[in-house]
Amino acid sequence: MQVNVGSIKSDFNGFDSISDIAEKTKTLYFDSIDLNFTNCSFFEANMVAPLYTVVANLRDNINDVSILSVPPAVYTILKKNKFLTVFNLPELIDINQTTLPFKIFKLNSGDQFNDYLETYMKGKGIPEMSEALNKHFLQNLFEIFLNASIHSKSKSGVFVCGQFFPQKHRLDFTIADAGVGIRENVRRYTGDAKLDSCESIKWALTEGHTTKTGNHPGGLGLKLIKDFIQKNNGKLQIISRYGYYEFLSNGETFQKMNNDFPGTCINIEINTEDKSSYCLESELKSEDVF
């Protein structure tokens, strides 16, 4: 079977297009699927993380997945961020150091995630942060990463990728899993089987709300990142099953997608044009408040 992959950006349509590919292929078992990129004129590199949720599910159903007809410019991007290596195609050295390469983390590999952040987050245009804020920021990224491992209940792992777009003054950092989605966890926790994906994301984002796993409670832990994104004029997106959530400095929106995204994805977009220095409010000195 051949499935077309069109142009993909980090927006509602981009995630919906990926979900569409998932819908078209979800019943396939022990089959061959070619992802045909002929009509793909651009592909924002970080979006390979959510795309891989589709590939992971296909491979989980013992399907053979191949990549076809990728236009040269897109091919270069996917080679640079190492996505094509999962299809046994060669990689390209990223001379400009703008990629945070695609990586599949096995569950319980927090140490490797730490190494990944230390290696690739530097020099990507993130505004200056105080030591304490930087620690909190990393803590939040770990919470997202670990939640993806635990809550997804997926054996495929956690898929991470990022891209610094110097011309667009953006850094996108994306964490995805091919799991059951936020809806499933929140429905089980609240006992309300009628909650839809958007309502479930909203529930999970409410401070103090947590879902449990096994013997212990957990949560989304995004408050500090939201505070930062608001001040930085960046963007935060959460996509889980039919739910699409977008947080911008001027407000937030929930939208139901047309297709079922096969897992959960969190994308953090940092505005790299922002030259401010940030610290925690608790660190403020008297000279900072006036």
């Binding site: 927090g110 140490d111 730490n114 803590q139 770990f142 006992g191 212990h216 957990g218 832990g221």
Partner: protein
Amino acid sequence: MSSSIKGVIMNNKIKIKVSDLIGSQLCISVEDGQKVFDKVDQLVKDGNHVTISFENVTMLISVFLNVAIGQLYGSFSEEAIRTQLKVEGLSSDDMTLVKSVVDNAKKYYLNKKSYDEAWLEDDDNE
């Protein structure tokens, strides 16, 4: 005296250095949290006064704390934990994190039965 002989040490003050126990300065995994929990759980059960030291820990997240400390509220009463357990070596921010994990755990174990009975059949409807 060896701390590995269960049931022998009673009412002792024992300090557990987390970074030594898990062999890492990063408190970020469920497995490592479980390792700490198993150790503390047994020591408290044996009647010891336990101090969990986070000295040298550079990263601490709630997922770890949920397992290492939150779970203790499933084994012991709040009073027993308050009497027998202490934490040290935490920055004030990390102390706030521990507090929120503890508050969540108390809430969870208070309602554990109803939470666990709330498991539903998978419903794909949106």
